[in-house]
Symmetry: C2
Subunit: 245 residues, 2 copies
Amino acid sequence: MLKGFPDNSVDLIFADPPYYLQLPKGKRLKRPDGSEIIPVDDAWDQFDGYEDYDRFTTDWLKECQRILKPTGTIWVIGMYHNIFRVGKIMQDLGIWFLNDVIWVKIGALPNLNCRRLTNNHETLIWGVKDKKSKGYTFNYQLLKKMNGDKQMKDTDWSFGICRGSERLRGKDGIKSHPTQKPLKLIQQVLLTSSKKGDIVLDPFMGSGTTAVVAKALGRKWVGIEREKKYVDLAIKRVENFTIAK
Amino acid sequence: MLKGFPDNSVDLIFADPPYYLQLPKGKRLKRPDGSEIIPVDDAWDQFDGYEDYDRFTTDWLKECQRILKPTGTIWVIGMYHNIFRVGKIMQDLGIWFLNDVIWVKIGALPNLNCRRLTNNHETLIWGVKDKKSKGYTFNYQLLKKMNGDKQMKDTDWSFGICRGSERLRGKDGIKSHPTQKPLKLIQQVLLTSSKKGDIVLDPFMGSGTTAVVAKALGRKWVGIEREKKYVDLAIKRVENFTIAK
DNA sequence: GCAAGGCATGAATCTACAT
DNA sequence: GATGTAGATTCATGCCTTG
């Protein structure tokens, strides 16, 4: 999918790949009031076992690494279902980690069957092209300022999940994309590790959140998305987006 | 190392394996006041590349899985250096994840070069023997009670690092073990997922924190440790330990 | 005895540039 | 590419000393 891109051409990659949730088919989880929870069971999250998922993961990560500038950085977000596989594959490709960041999800779903701890976070891996990479962007002072004049930590990322007026919905009221990420999370990513004018790539664009934030912050952006309905959604969203306030 | 153990014999495993930090050799990190940071560069954290580390990891995890009861659970702690590799290997062996838990480290080292986010957490993976495992212990109500009558989340684990009078030191004042874990963290693990009388195994016993907590909570324990100096240390520590208050 | 301030220290893949 | 050096930079905690 990235074959057309030249080597070493992108400053920042933000990737939100399929999580491969492996939910039991046919079973539906219900809230105590009887209402149903709509699971992520779209075709794009279906794989033929770990091997298939790993092959898919290796393919897109290799291309991302190839087109990343030696001064660029890559972010990948995931959950415990997939992030460990993704992280090991990244390391095996030679991507060198800078941090793993915990997004604490405010307003996340409580645990309904009381047999596990409540899932309340997602993990972001932040890395450079390879071990010898130098000169990547890290806006230390800006983040420190944003964090009450204290160093920003890898555990200071608390943001509400995407809901309310930010959440895109069709005329039927059903959410347009099952895993839309909050603007503030992506904004934090771009503010941390990019400058104005940088080229930002999102290889799994979905509803276009990365594009919207990039536009608002004066970064150039490129998005890739397999499903036409999401491409249409994202384009419309970016066009209509104006900076609030 | 676990060859002598029968299959399906252990209720809980807590493993704190080498992290394979890959620190630059010879370079010393200094605080702004000129004092030196003592790095973890012990022989037991040295490996011949990722392949070597993966082989080591696969070996001990396979044995842990073998001796774990079908109703038992396993915890593994690590950082971004190693936890993704360890996690993928666990999944490949068929261990089924229940949660990944974020230990927020109160009092962790700040970032001195200001080129990354501050490392402020470690990650614990909690899993069962395999996907079809049932009947594991999860003390939901107890944890809820401990957490102010709210469900315990995978991000609610904030504990201070091991220091002060809890930190074991030799007569020279130098810490006896470079990576001693805080009692409260291990206590939380045991309270979450074990009952009185359960058999708890720590395959990397180190300074014996798991043993001390297990004893205090009325669990039976088994510890494995390669270095004799740590075995001696741990035995002495457990013998002398009495429950405070 | 108590309060305030000094000081030590923690699993660290902690950089950039010149030769 | 490898090696050496200059240069900029830190936070929370707990023990201990001082007043």
